[in-house]
């Protein structure tokens, strides 16, 4: 059975007279250990989709089943618990706490799960090694570069070994070098650590690191391509082709 099963979800905004369908009847599934990218132009509904999966937003209709549990039915306390234990978030603007050091930021995700401190120490150092941020652990966010901040945020997202890592434009605020480094880390996390990642992006280059890309236009799935055994370069060309087909402003994201 798939890790994440999304069936016929819809999300409407606005009043009766003026309805915007941000997500309009989308269904797909994500297998355990997959690295999926969701691409689309601004306003295509990709962030709304991610918000629905992450339970930050509620769907108007449809079902989202993660690990055998229908998360659209969760409420209050169990919602927090679900987010805490099963999901990891990576945001475009990092969302690190500026008052805490990198180490403490990563540790916080574990300490709110009430893990013992020696385990916290072990896990934080381990994940810092995987993401190459061991030397910045004692620094505060304002002392770090954008790439380092995003890797710290990624470390915080995966340190709890979540079922699913959700990344919203993780490379959006990074320069190309830092973006490349981050995406290589994602690949490593996915292939070597077995993390399941869903990444929302409008950057074809970023998407080319995924094993599968879902294209969204006007709230509907427009296309879907898998990397298969292609090298990354070739997959990138495929993506560009679809983007060209999609037209509009996605192409200028290159």
């Amino acid at each position: 059975m798939a890790l994440l099963e999304i069936s016929n979800i819809e999300k409407y905004y606005g009043s009766r007279s003026n309805i915007t369908k941000a997500v309009d009847d989308i269904s797909f599934s994500v297998e355990n250990g997959e690295f999926t990218a969701i691409m689309g132009a601004s306003g295509s509904g990709k962030t709304t989709l991610l918000n629905c999966i992450s339970t930050i937003d509620r769907v108007t209709a449809g079902k989202i089943v993660l690990d055998g549990e229908d998360i659209t039915r969760l409420k209050g306390r169990s919602l927090n618990k679900f987010r805490r234990d099963k999901l990891g978030f990576i945001f475009q603007d990092f969302n690190l706490l500026d008052t805490l050091t990198a180490y403490e930021n990563i540790a916080l995700a574990l300490s709110i799960q009430k893990r013992p401190h020696d385990e916290i120490d072990k896990l934080v150092n381990e994940v810092a090694g995987q993401l190459g941020i061991t030397e910045v652990l004692k620094k505060y966010p304002y002392q770090m570069s954008g790439g380092q901040k995003q890797r710290v945020a990624s470390a915080r997202a995966i340190v709890t070994s979540p079922k699913l890592v959700l990344a919203d434009e993780p490379t959006g605020a990074l320069d190309s070098k830092a973006a490349k480094m981050l995406l290589e880390r994602f690949n490593y996390l996915n292939s070597d650590c077995g993390a399941t990642i869903i990444m929302v992006t409008h950057d074809s280059f970023a998407a080319s690191y995924a094993s599968r890309v879902i294209f969204i236009k006007d709230g509907k799935i427009f296309n879907e391509i898998s990397r298969g055994d292609d090298p990354r370069k070739q997959f990138f060309d495929k993506i560009i082709n679809v983007v060209t087909l999609l037209g509009g402003d996605v192409s200028d994201a290159l």
Partner: protein, 700 residues
């Protein structure tokens, strides 16, 4: 248009302004209430002495009001500058839209006027309401009669409040316009990006500073707690300055140090949101070291003021009831050996029938033994002298110990209705009584050693191994420093010095007693006009003054003291102390509360983003609330704890130094003080916490 904008601004930032408005309102109300006391008490039925006391009190309170106005003025300037800083972005928008700085100043001016007028009106209404309540308190404090309730409005106080606060608001406006004038647009636009960098001091520097601070405190505490006997004016100023400096260093270093300490305790630090909580708190304390110092010192003053005033009042009031066991007391002596008369004989000579006029009259004779402390205390004299400290001893150290005959002593007890305190002495025995607690234990030691004394050529041994807790001469406190009781046969050999004469008025109600006292005083003035040096016409004022200071001893003497006189005076002093302490205490407390509340609320606004991150990574809402509660709680608790520590040692010192004044009711006055602090300061804490919680919950 301008007015509308200002009004909307206030409405929009009501959250920021609410606590400011609230504080202003309380300030106005308190100011009115304490300045309206004069009018409130004008209609009370009080004696002449009491009304003089009330007069002194209103003068004192209006003096204190100037100081209070300065404190509140500083608070208002601080608060409005603080609120202004939060709105730099908004000013930037106005400036980029092409509004002139003058116009912005005008907007601010309008806002200040709106808030000022609003708080003045609201405060005055509350103040007028509260001052009706205060009448009842005044009645209780002065033990006066209130015939009927009357609604009183003090126009004078209203005017004074409006003028004082008007001046404060004008000062604020000047400050605001000046700071707007100095602003640069680029700074305003970037104001939120400049956010305060985390200034974590070097832990070793922190440690050194903390040790210095602790050292200074230990020195100051030792000085006031144990070595207080040789503390003079400048010495006290120095101690207070050291305490203030140590407080500053403490707050400078404590947050860094506590944070390091917390971080070292990994188990606690990495539990739930603790790391976040500690960091938030530490950055708060680090950015407001000076404010924290001021707050701590104000709380310290409040605790000391309130508890000393309450306990002094209680001691004074109880003192009269306890240590003045008659309605009137005449100290009388007639030195000329022949023709010596007793009080009773003087009355009889003037055709005054004592038994008809008074319920009871009694007198005892004080004899001069020529015995000194050393004779009675023996080898314990030096310990005793050391315990008292050098300055207290001189008052009575070289006086001869008074001696009473045992039958006089027993008759006195009968007069007081304390038959159980009567004693019997054998012909070769003596007894000692004293009621100053510090001295009693030395007498006890000497007596249990069997220390013998020689009076009029006869050697006497102690009848009891403990000294009696008693007194002869009426007072408002424990002032009996040790007198001897000897057998009548011994006393007969001694020269009588003073006669102490007492009466109980024959009256049932306080009102009748007052009338009786008037009669008694009138008679006294007639009968003793040649004896009482204050009434004698043959003495100049200068000579009277010399007698009063003890520089001259007249050969005829009579002195009168009545219970009502003493009570009116002590009640008045107690009430004045209580009112001034309450006035200052409340103003200090609202100032502290307002500063902390403003800081915490603005921090919460700045931290909204942080809390939403916490929510996104799945922190429980209850954990977030708990973290906020702890941050707010610690922020309020930290200065209070240090202030409590300061107060403990300062009050210890006060308790010893002023032991005659504040012997009693120390615990109950501490409780009362705590209740007041808890109500006002705790109230601010609760409001702050609840408002902060709303703020961080807003942006879901």
């Amino acid at each position: 248009m301008l007015f509308k904008l200002s009004l909307n601004n206030i409405r929009r930032s009501i959250r920021d302004y609410a606590i400011y408005f609230f504080t202003l309102m309380i300030g106005v109300a308190v100011f009115y209430v304490f300045n309206a006391i004069e009018t409130q008490t004008a209609f009370l039925e009080v004696s002449k002495d009491t009304s003089e006391m009330i007069d002194i009190m209103t003068k004192a309170l209006s003096g204190v009001s100037v100081f209070v106005a300065v404190v509140l003025g500083l608070l208002i300037v601080y608060a409005s500058r603080f609120l202004m800083k939060r709105r730099h972005k908004e000013f930037a928008v106005y400036l980029t839209l092409g509004m002139s700085k003058g116009r912005i100043s005008a907007i601010l001016l309008t806002e200040t006027v709106i808030i000022g007028i609003g708080s003045l009106i609201a405060g005055l209404i509350i103040g007028i309401g509260l001052s009706q309540l205060l009448s009842a308190v005044v009645v209780d404090l002065f033990e006066a009669n209130m015939t009927k309730f009357r609604f009183v409005l003090s126009g004078k106080s209203v005017l004074k409040t409006i003028i004082y606060f008007g001046i404060m608001y004008v000062v604020v406006m000047i400050f605001n316009s000046r700071s707007i004038g100095k602003c640069k647009l680029i700074d305003l636009i970037q104001s939120d990006k400049r956010g305060e960098r985390l200034r974590l001091h070097n832990p070793w520097v922190c440690l050194v500073m903390f040790i210095i601070s602790a050292g200074m405190l230990v020195w100051a505490y030792r000085r006031i707690g144990w070595q207080y006997s040789n503390l003079d004016g400048w010495g006290s100023v120095l101690v207070l300055a050291v305490i203030a400096a140590a407080t500053f260093l403490f707050f400078w270093s404590v947050s860094g140090l506590l944070l390091r300490l917390a971080m070292a305790m990994k188990k606690t630090y990495f539990t739930k949101l603790n790391s976040f909580t500690y960091r938030q708190l530490s950055s708060k304390v680090t950015t407001m070291v000076f404010s924290m110092t001021v707050i701590c010192l104000m709380l310290f003053s409040t605790v000391c003021l309130l508890s000393i005033a309450f306990s002094a009042r209680k001691t004074l009031n109880n003192g009269v009831k306890e240590y003045f066991q008659s309605d009137a007391e005449i100290a009388f002596y007639n030195r000329t050996g022949e023709g010596a008369m007793s009080c009773e004989e003087v009355y009889a000579e003037n055709g005054y029938d004592l038994s008809a006029a008074f319920k009871k009259a009694e007198s005892v004779m004080i004899y001069d033994s020529g015995l000194k402390f050393r004779d009675v205390l023996g080898k314990y004299t030096d310990d005793f002298a050391k315990a008292l400290g050098s300055n207290l001893i001189t008052v009575f150290y070289f006086d001869n110990r008074p001696v009473y005959s045992v039958s006089d002593f027993n008759r006195m007890q009968e007069f007081r209705g304390r038959d159980d305190r009567k004693i019997t002495l054998a012909e070769d025995e003596y007894a000692v009584f004293c009621n100053m607690k510090e001295l009693m234990k030395y007498y006890d030691k000497a007596l249990s050693d069997g220390n013998e004394i020689t009076v009029a050529g006869r050697t006497l041994k102690p009848a009891f191994d403990k000294c009696k807790d008693d007194f002869v001469v009426g007072s408002i406190q424990r002032t009996e420093n040790g007198s001897l009781i000897v057998p009548d046969s011994v006393a007969a050999e001694l020269e009588g010095k003073y006669e102490i004469f007492w009466v109980w008025y024959d009256a049932a109600t306080p009102k009748q007693k007052r009338e009786k006292e008037e009669e008694f005083l009138a008679e006294y003035r007639k009968i003793f006009k040649d004896y009482d040096y204050m009434l004698r016409e043959d003495l100049t004022d200068e000579e009277k003054q010399q007698i009063m200071n003890g520089e001259e001893e007249p050969d005829l003497y009579a002195g009168l003291l009545t219970k009502f006189q003493l009570a009116d005076e002590t009640v008045g002093i107690g009430a004045i102390a209580t009112f001034i302490a309450l006035y200052l205490g409340i103003v200090f407390l609202i100032t502290c509360g307002a500063i902390l509340a403003l800081k915490q609320l603005s921090d919460s606004v700045d931290s909204v983003g942080r809390y939403s991150i916490l929510r996104k990574i799945g922190a429980d809402e209850s954990d977030i609330s708990a973290s906020l509660f702890r941050q707010t709680g610690m922020l309020f608790l930290l200065p209070l704890l240090l202030a409590a520590l300061h107060s403990f040692f300062a009050l210890r010192c006060a308790n010893k130094m002023l032991s005659i004044f504040i012997k009693e009711g120390f615990v109950s006055s501490m409780i009362f003080t705590s209740v007041i602090i808890l109500a006002i300061y705790g109230g601010y804490f609760l409001i702050t916490y609840l408002c902060s919680r709303t703020i961080i919950r807003e942006k879901r």
